[in-house]
Symmetry: C2
Subunit: 231 residues, 2 copies
């Protein structure tokens, strides 16, 4: 993909396996924005990353005509506003519907992503608690999906991308930790949604290979939960 | 204050001493939006609050023509978008500048407010660590203020309200815990900003009385840090 043209010069600092980077790649793909993907090394962060996000030093960072935007949900809103003339709209036009979209996006980050992290990094009772919290959040989202194809209505929108970007990682975490997270019986709407989302145009092209992500995350979890070396 | 008229019917569920409610009251005051303030009791939450914010069950909730909007930073953006024709603008028009405003607002919530909570509820080493984190965040904000009267430029904007809403509480927490947070010598810009912000039209009218807030928060901290009763 080219990083220049009518969209301006667009670069994305990221990592193919990061679910937060995935969110940004989905939004860029849906809007058909060409960009240069610059893979960063979290163990050895690049000078460009440190300069572009000196406060958090985290990916993803979108660099548009030399100016960096950080934090995945802020980047999504930036993409929507900077390329507002490009279909599809990632957010509704009505102020109330926009507030509702922001509410669910924040819920996914503050509640669901936080507890999923606990499932991934935790062990024993602590992990069990994180599984219960994750399931509770998913059940709230199941209810919110009622009567709709996507959280955004008929089309993929901000909330779909917020949750959908995490999907492949959530599925890997469920397998690695032998947990039931998106339960087909208890969450029929969310299960259908997940299936449809993963196959959607703009999503499937940028999704990491589930087998490779599983392997990568299994190694990561093994490192995180192994007892410290030495004496 | 009336809750109806050309602005529609506007109600705010809140508590006079909540810094997050304060953010919303400042934004409503700056835009000159009339509203009915409904004081809620956090110890005994109203049916209206539970119905309006069933997910988090927290104040503030803005109810506009019967429709609830939750979470202070989402409410601020809603106010800006729903009453976009009312001066002053709380957010810049340029998409990049908007992303930057959202970045700092998120920094204030995710980093600063989280560590300030630790100062208020913590004791000993844990509290000391929270003080150090709070000061580190404030120093980052001091740098961001460089060359500007307000975070928003010449006028109060989203970031000013995000931080400014917390100010009276931060000052009370500093006194209660005998901590130095906004250090005049190390943070001259932030100190000047804080002074100016508190005296600004639209802010001073809705600020809680510092002495009463101090008393209220002192009692709260005493409850939080006292050893559990009974055996």
């Amino acid at each position: 993909m080219e990083g220049c043209g009518e969209d301006g010069q667009v670069k994305l600092l990221g990592m193919a396996y990061s679910p937060f980077v995935m969110r940004v790649r989905i939004a860029l793909a849906l809007k058909g924005i060409h960009y240069e993907f610059i893979e960063d090394d979290i163990e050895n962060k690049s000078e460009l990353l440190l300069q572009s996000n000196p406060v958090h030093k985290k990916i993803p960072v979108l660099i548009h005509n030399g100016k960096p935007v950080c934090e995945s949900m802020i980047i999504l809103q930036y993409i929507e506003e900077a390329w507002g003339n490009k279909a599809p709209n990632l957010m509704p036009k009505d102020p109330y519907d926009r507030a509702i979209a922001r509410f669910w996006a924040a819920f996914i980050d503050d509640k669901f992503a936080a507890s999923i992290r606990g499932v991934f990094t935790g062990v024993g009772e602590e992990q069990q608690k994180a599984v219960e919290e994750s399931v509770a959040s998913l059940l709230v989202l199941e209810e919110e999906l009622s009567g709709k194809a996507y959280f955004g209505g008929d089309e993929i929108g901000l909330v779909d991308i917020a949750l959908g970007g995490l999907l492949v990682a959530v599925q890997a975490i469920a397998r690695i930790t032998d947990s039931v997270l998106i339960d087909t019986l208890k969450m029929p709407l969310l299960s259908t949604w997940a299936h449809k989302f993963c196959k959607a145009e703009g999503v499937k092209e940028v999704s990491p290979d589930p087998a490779k992500l599983f392997e990568f995350m299994s190694e990561m979890r093994a490192k995180l939960t192994s007892p410290p070396a030495g004496n």
